[in-house]
Symmetry: C2
Subunit: 345 residues, 2 copies
DNA sequence: ACATATATTGCAATCGATTACAATCCAATA
DNA sequence: TATTGGATTGTAATCGATTGCAATATATGT
């Protein structure tokens, strides 16, 4: 088997034309039953396979979809991608992965690169809070030919669909839960609030406080990266305050873990003295031996699936009926030991 | 911006030929300095971008690489993929992700599908221990046009390159370490040994026993899936033996975790009564609060990078000099509390 | 001024499949 | 028998870029 067989090879063998073969293969226009059968048999026997590149060039559809994420090796993102792949593959699409490492220039570059290889759409979780300033991104927006769907970290841009969770509710529920446990001095470890998701978690936190008659104290909000060490650092700051908090709501599981480590090493008890709630339901929050971590599940698999569905709707639509869909999934608070003071609610 | 500009548009605007434009753009043959400059400027101004699909059709290279894994949402595989993407992207390649969910028929199908979309190569961790019986796989092998690189779960097939870790050594070192801790009745939780990696870990385990004068006891080897529940089940079996083991070497971190849970709940102490060692260095093994888990690091990032490099070598080689490369990385035993009886070695 | 060499550029085929339009064939109808 | 029409199949353009070969233009040497 040297070269792949083409429709021309089949045509030649049968004394037909490539056009006829193509039609027979595609069940399209009226082709005599005989020739169709003949073509199909010969195609099988010659091991014919349609050259998707030629098809892509002709049709302008590559059946490739680009997915851009900050990184792939986190449970959240890889789960979303899993959902995307599972949803798109049966429809004939392949998923191309790109990582940005949270660097704006790389994100820009990868957007360009994906458009350049003619993906039929891009699903992305943004790394750059000021995405509108990106040349590559703007070209994508102007062009409007390639559907774009945000998931999780989105930007509120007119005409762009998105799938997110209700981060406000996530923040609200987490905080409300802590209040219900009797906490009234609740700190918040917040990521960069230029991102909607983190701003919304923060706003949910504030709202829950306000709804329950607790005054917002800005000194209890600490900006924290999403990693263990930074969580430790933030906890240290809090513990060193004159009146430390009696609870911490972290917008990241990793930071929550760091905080828990720091707190325990200071001889302070969780949840008795300080309650902790994380965000994302990373696997390790469930695996902890002593203090399983209360957290907010974001249903990444479903998020991926939904984002894929939104994309599919957009490509199937004609340009006229272009609809924008902003799906908001409902997060779920998962109460575990790190915040549960009273065994029975 | 309705349509993308092509070299024909540029040619027309300049009163030239597409051929000339193409050459000017590619710095290839001798083109007058003037026209080159003119073409480049016009291209820029018209927002020209090379149509990769056309290029792919003409050249037969898609600059896409397929990666097939059982699943993407495990730390090990997503880390490998991260490495692959980081290595290949700068060389102009894009990474297409496919998951098999450990199902042979899906694996078969995805291989076909990737070949069909003309990927320039496939990197895979096999899900089917009897891969040679796969039609799609065999076609791929016969064809020999598309480089294939195995990583982690490989098959020993002549002419196919691979990147793995020395699983034998991993198993040996883990077992030796347990022996050094004074254990002499060491159980082994083993995955399906039809896969080389699990067979080799098992063989390393046996060899270490034999080298240290300990008789191999088949009843101490339990076949276990790579998940927490199955680890619990296996531990239960072991604990219920007349003389339970004093150590467990698990070929999976998840099974090790399950075993640890089951053991602790039985009131048995780790590492005092039973030592446990896992495999893979999943993040949670480090995050445990009381009993951080001893495990074997497989350097997934490096594995991904290396697999990508092997692929790059293969594509750059002419057919004549086809070399097969079987890279074996060295795993590293990471000793933590679950197996460390004596504080100082 | 003429022949030859060299530098640029154009022509046309190619990659493989699709598709509007034209052409052919055979049968049925007037 | 001539004509119309439906059923098949062929012709050729198209998608966008590349490239061997031919053609033109310019320069050089005598």
């Amino acid at each position: 088997m040297k070269k792949k067989t083409t429709i021309y090879d089949i045509a030649e063998k049968l004394g037909l034309t490539a056009a006829t073969v193509s039609r027979a293969l595609n069940n399209n226009t009226k082709i005599s039953l005989n020739t169709r059968k003949l073509v199909l048999e010969t195609a099988l026997e010659m091991n014919y396979e349609q050259n998707k590149l030629a098809l892509a060039l002709k049709s302008g559809k590559s059946y490739n979809v680009g997915v851009i994420v900050p990184r792939i090796d986190s449970n959240f993102f890889s789960s979303v991608i899993r959902g995307i792949e599972e949803e798109l593959y049966p429809k004939g699409y392949h998923v191309i992965i790109c990582q940005t490492h949270n660097q704006e220039n790389i994100e820009n570059e990868k957007i360009n690169s994906l458009v350049n290889v003619q993906v039929d759409g891009i699903l992305m979780s943004i790394s750059n809070a000021n995405l509108e300033e990106n040349k590559g991104f703007n070209k994508l927006l102007k062009n409007k030919k390639t559907p774009l769907v945000f998931f999780d970290r989105k930007k509120d841009i007119k005409g762009i669909s998105s799938v997110t969770i209700d981060d406000f509710k996530g923040g609200y529920d987490a905080t409300k839960h802590l209040l219900d446990q009797g906490c009234n001095r609740i700190a918040h470890l917040s990521n960069d609030r230029n991102f909607e998701i983190f701003r919304n978690r923060y706003l949910g936190y504030k709202q829950a406080l306000s709804d329950n008659g607790i005054e917002f104290d800005e000194s209890l909000v600490i900006e924290t990266q999403s990693n263990v060490l930074d969580g430790r650092r933030a906890a240290r700051l809090l513990l060193d305050m004159e009146t430390p908090p009696d609870a911490i709501f972290s917008s990241s599981d990793f930071a929550a873990l760091g905080a828990i480590q720091e707190i325990k090493e200071s001889g302070i008890n969780i949840p008795e003295d300080i309650c902790v709630v994380g965000f994302s339901n990373e696997p390790f929050t469930r695996f902890m031996e002593l203090t399983t971590i209360t957290t907010v599940d974001q249903f990444p698999l479903e998020m991926g699936r939904t984002a894929a569905q939104v994309f599919l709707e957009e490509v199937s639509n004609t340009d006229e009926t272009k609809t924008t869909k902003n799906v908001v999934l409902t997060p779920q608070l998962i109460i575990r030991k790190s915040s549960l003071k009273h065994k029975e609610g």
